[in-house]
């Protein structure tokens, strides 16, 4: 999987810390979760992005100052019925992006429920970002920017309006999360704390320096 990253790698490979974070995307169906991930990871956009069943997994690495941040992104199914699967994905996640569609008030309501659930059930240190997606359709807006901003402030969430279609704020929201996450070097046998159970020991090879940001 190609790692597309804006930040330059340091010469002679003396990279700084390498951090790996599990990030989960939640939100009502058809708000653009998969599209956001696809835009962030591959720089692509499909008008007819097919619906996600169960969940999809993708990774992307970004460089922040002297730190390489590798996101392991779990993109979940939006339909309410798949709710029972969600804990499996957000359990142990260090970050979550809760997505809603700015042209649909109901999806904003659903986003709030997700935030509540995360605050109750997920790791207490989880970084939550709220993304008001489909900003390109601002002329059909049903959720005011201020309304969402106020809500985000009250709940200590990162907030941005994004557009997977025009790529507006897509990288930014992931970078903002990366900045907010506590970073400690994971090269030296990082403890299991906070890491998803999916991170198996056999995977260590991928985390050695020089293996990121190809």
């Amino acid at each position: 999987m190609a790692n597309r990253s804006g930040a330059a790698q340091r010469p002679n490979g003396t990279q700084g810390k390498i951090c790996q974070f599990k990030l989960v995307l939640l939100g009502e169906s058809a708000v653009g979760k998969s599209s956001l991930v696809l835009r962030f990871v591959k720089g692509q956009f499909h008008e007819y992005q097919e619906s996600t069943i169960g969940a999809a997994f993708l990774t992307q690495t970004v460089c922040l100052d002297d730190t390489t941040v590798k996101f392991e992104i779990w993109d979940t199914a939006g339909q309410e019925r798949y709710h029972s699967l969600a804990p499996m994905y957000y359990r142990g996640a260090q970050a979550a992006i809760v997505v809603y569609d700015i042209t649909n008030q109901d999806t904003f309501g659903r986003a709030k429920t997700w935030v509540k659930e995360l605050q109750r059930q997920a790791s207490p240190t989880i970084v939550i970002a709220l993304a008001g997606n489909k900003q390109d359709l601002a002329n059909k807006r049903m959720v005011e920017f201020e309304e969402a901003q106020t809500y985000a402030d009250e709940n200590g969430l990162l907030f941005m309006e994004t557009s997977a279609k025009t790529a507006l704020n897509v990288n930014d929201i992931f970078l903002a999360i990366a900045k907010k996450l506590p970073k400690y070097d994971q090269n030296q046998g990082q403890s299991g704390q906070g890491q998803g159970r999916r991170l198996a020991e056999g995977d260590q090879g991928a985390k050695t320096p020089g293996n990121c940001c190809k």
């Binding site: 619906s51 990774t59 359709l137």
Partner: protein
């Protein structure tokens, strides 16, 4: 007789082409998605026209989309346009009456289906050699959504009713009465043997037609005087005169409908004309349908595009010429002359069937009537050798005209005999399924009854429900690369089927994925929504029973646990690797099985997978899943967790035929009880005490190797003892008292399971290592641990390991045949 003699001089294909209106700039619909291109809307709407079959209508055969919103319409074309007769041979009054009758009959057929011709003229009435008519090109107005999807008007000036000119803005109101007016004009042309207003310019013609609004007297009379035909008019029999007068009523309301015209006394003699015909033997070519001939024609190299290019209907111009001079920021384009190609092109391209006749020239007539049930040696002697390309790849078989010819003939005969020929259809479907008849064959395989239409019609598909929003957002994402499914008509149909299904199956709910599951059925039965619905309804209980329960987690988890066990059964190395990196099927296989791969593969692959699925049972998808893993095996074995899951998030190209063959192979080699589930549909399985039951999900998740039933075990012992290896892990005393014939004893207590080394089990190690294709059945009893031993074998890489469900004791009821006493044997 050879097929080349079947040629019908009247049978021809033709094509016309036009451009759909292009959307201006980049525009989005209300849901933020791009607007459906007009050519796709047309494509979807026109499908219905293909179902029309009537003696006085040319059959529509195909709709093809080309570049830049081009639409090509392929249709039957036979006979000569009526316009070629006018001015040459004067028809008798009775001939005119007959034409009037046939026109009304054909139009009535269209009007009943809410199709307005709008474009009726002497040019698109084809006269057959027997004098009968066939309407041609009658669907343009309908398929273009009452002309709204094209930039040119769909009408023929001189034949159009005056109200057509008055209300262009109301173009969407399609009134069938405009066609009645056109009939009036056409009849006059026949009667006067003269083209009306032929020397008038466009504007004058329109003025002439509009002037009828001021005409206080008979319009027919006025036209007669203008064309110096008053004498003919005056001497015309009253009945036909009356008909024409009624057609040309200025107020559409006063014009009778075609149905009313057909009630006229005058037409009685034509009504029963069919009965008068001597019972004639079917002409050879009539045993084929036009659609079949068209498909074979295409397979033998017939190419509509090529024909259109050859005859200059499709011309390519340098792209630079199509650039506009100025594009405004809002997308407005300036300085680009209208491309003359976007105007309506009246030309019709005729396409001969010569290549087809040549290619099929040698086929013997007998081949058209394959004998299904009995065949004597004598008949066999005279029959040509069967055309056999059985061993070639499926893609080649589907493209081989001669093979498809034989397959279609055979299947069509079988389908005529359905449901009595069900078993034969199943048997033939095992070889392959001809694409042209796939929809019907699938319906037969799914046991769809003949009266399915009524049941669908009465289901409420309209009432608003809470599921609507979900269905609404899923449909525009469901297999949208496909023209049918992305068309407006396709969306409407899919929505109706899904709503009907949810409405009818109250025990189930709509899960995302049901849309994908419906897509193949809709694709194959686009013109028969009811059949698509019934196929879905029959498919669900058979293959995804209980998967759509509100709480389906137990069902899905069981299915996935079975999948893990099946992997372990056939491929221990892969199973161990995936197990070690915690790569569980929950993470990637839910969409596979919930939608039986319909959410995973493109349609053309799904069709081939399901061709075989429909011949198997609900365990078949497990085998397809296994085959997919097997294809990616080398990659998976060297990959860690992240790479594995990434591989599945973006599933690489899978060779589907290879996958299918592999699935069939493992499906056959796997005893049924290995994949038996608590949640499978009892309707399709007969349970007995010798089958597996009462296994909880917890048990299942603990056990890495599957269980096998006593029934399968005894069956194997009886029929294929060489294919199994029974390991008895009870203590030697129990073993010597009574054991399975041919079994070996490896007492559980004698093995140390510390490390995965097969030598630990002692003397039988070699035998197990070489077991290869044999099914290793572990027989224990209640006091032996039934998890450790199979797990140990699995870790040692021994394949096909399974555990006898119920242990040794369950076999005691079948003692005489499969059990022996060691003492007795020695």
């Amino acid at each position: 007789m050879k097929i080349s003699l079947f040629k019908s001089p009247e049978l021809q294909f033709s094509a016309t082409t036009f451009f759909a209106k292009q959307h201006k700039g980049e525009t989005c619909g209300s849901n933020g998605l791009p607007l459906t291109p007009n050519s796709i809307i047309i494509f979807g709407k026109a499908q219905m026209l293909k179902t029309l079959k009537h003696p006085y209508l040319c059959e529509y055969l195909d709709i093809i989309r080309g570049k830049h919103e081009r639409t090509i319409v392929v249709s039957q074309f036979c006979g000569k346009p009526a316009s070629e007769f006018i001015g040459k041979n004067q028809l008798s009054i009775s001939e005119v009456k007959k034409i009037a009758f046939q026109l009304f009959t054909a139009l009535n057929e269209l009007h009943k289906k809410r199709i307005v011709h709008r474009n009726l003229s002497c040019e698109n009435i084809l006269i057959q050699s027997n004098g009968d008519i066939k309407l041609f090109n009658y669907g343009s107005y309908y398929m273009t959504n009452n002309g709204q999807l094209v930039t040119f008007p769909i009408m023929k000036l001189a034949y159009s009713a005056p109200e057509v000119y008055l209300s262009p803005s109301k173009a969407d109101i399609a009134s069938s009465k405009v066609d009645v007016w056109s009939v009036g004009i056409i009849l006059i042309e026949f009667i006067f043997n003269k083209q009306l207003w032929s020397n008038l310019k466009l504007g004058q013609q329109i003025r002439k037609i509009l002037s009828f609004y001021q005409c206080g007297t008979s319009i027919f009379e006025k036209i007669a005087r203008e064309h110096n035909c008053f004498d003919i008019y005056h001497n015309l029999p009253q009945d036909i005169k009356e008909i024409v007068e009624q057609c040309l009523q200025i107020n559409p309301k006063n014009r009778p409908s075609c149905e009313e015209f057909l009630q006229n006394e005058m037409f009685v003699e034509y009504k029963n004309v069919k009965c008068k015909n001597p019972s004639r033997v079917c002409k050879p070519y009539q045993i084929f349908t036009l659609k079949e001939l068209y498909q074979w024609w295409q397979l033998t190299g017939g190419d509509v595009f090529l024909e259109l290019k050859k005859q200059g209907l499709i011309r390519s111009s340098p792209p630079v010429l199509s650039l506009p001079c100025l594009i405004m920021l809002d997308g407005t384009i300036l300085g680009q002359g209208r491309n003359p190609a976007t105007l309506y092109d009246f030309r019709i391209v005729h396409m001969g069937l010569d290549t087809l006749y040549q290619r099929f020239g040698h086929i013997h007539l007998n081949s058209c009537y394959p004998l299904l049930h009995f065949k004597s040696d004598i008949i066999d002697m005279f029959d040509p050798a069967p055309y056999d390309i059985k061993n070639l790849p499926l893609v080649i078989k589907e493209k081989d005209p001669e093979y498809q010819f034989h397959r279609i003939i055979l299947f069509r005969r079988l389908l005529h005999g359905y449901p009595f020929t069900k078993d034969m259809i199943r048997k033939e479907a095992k070889k392959d399924i001809p694409p042209l008849l796939r929809g019907e064959i699938w319906a037969a395989l799914l046991d769809i009854k003949a009266d399915y239409k009524k049941a669908y019609a009465v289901i409420d598909k309209e009432t608003v429900t809470t599921t609507d929003r979900q269905i609404e957002v899923d449909i525009p994402r469901c297999h949208q690369y496909n023209e049918l499914l992305s068309s407006t008509e396709g969306h409407i149909k899919l929505r109706r089927i899904l709503k009907a299904w949810v409405q009818k199956n109250t025990q189930y709910v709509y899960w995302q994925g049901l849309d994908s599951l419906t897509a193949p059925f809709l694709y194959l039965n686009f013109n028969d929504e009811a059949k698509a619905y019934h196929c879905l309804s029959a498919f669900v209980p058979k293959y995804v029973h209980k998967f759509f329960l509100r709480d389906n987690s137990a069902v899905i988890r069981e299915y996935l646990a079975k999948f893990s066990q099946l992997i372990a059964f056939h491929d221990p190395e892969l199973a161990n690797h995936l197990h070690n990196i915690n790569f569980y099927p929950e993470l990637f296989a839910i969409p596979w099985f919930l939608t039986v791969f319909s959410h995973v593969f493109p349609l053309y692959k799904i069709l081939h997978v399901w061709d075989n699925l429909l011949l198997g049972d609900s365990s078949f998808p497990l085998h397809v899943g296994l085959s997919v893993l097997t294809q990616l095996r080398t990659k998976l074995l060297t990959a860690g967790f992240n790479d594995c899951i990434l591989l599945f998030s973006d599933l690489p190209e899978v060779d589907i035929e290879k996958s299918i063959n592999y699935s069939i192979d493992t499906f056959k080699k796997t005893p049924k009880s290995i994949t038996a589930r608590e949640h499978q549909n009892e309707e399709f399985t007969i349970q007995s005490e010798h089958d597996i039951s009462g296994v909880t999900l917890d048990d299942l998740n603990k056990e890495r190797s599957p269980r096998i039933s006593a029934r399968d075990t005894t069956d194997l012992l009886r029929t294929a003892p060489e294919s199994i290896l029974v390991i008895d892990i009870r203590n030697p005393v129990q073993f010597s008292r009574c054991c399975v014939r041919g079994s070996i004893n490896i007492p559980f207590s004698s093995v140390s399971f510390g490390e995965s080394n097969i030598e630990n089990i002692g003397q039988h190690a070699q035998m197990l290592k070489n077991s290869q294709e044999r099914i290793v059945i572990i027989v224990g009893s209640t006091d032996t641990d039934l998890e450790l031993f199979p797990k140990f074998l699995l870790n040692c890489g021994i394949s096909k390991v399974c555990v006898l469900h119920g242990g040794f004791n369950i076999l005691t009821s079948v003692t005489p045949t499969v059990l022996v006493s060691q003492k007795f044997e020695t």
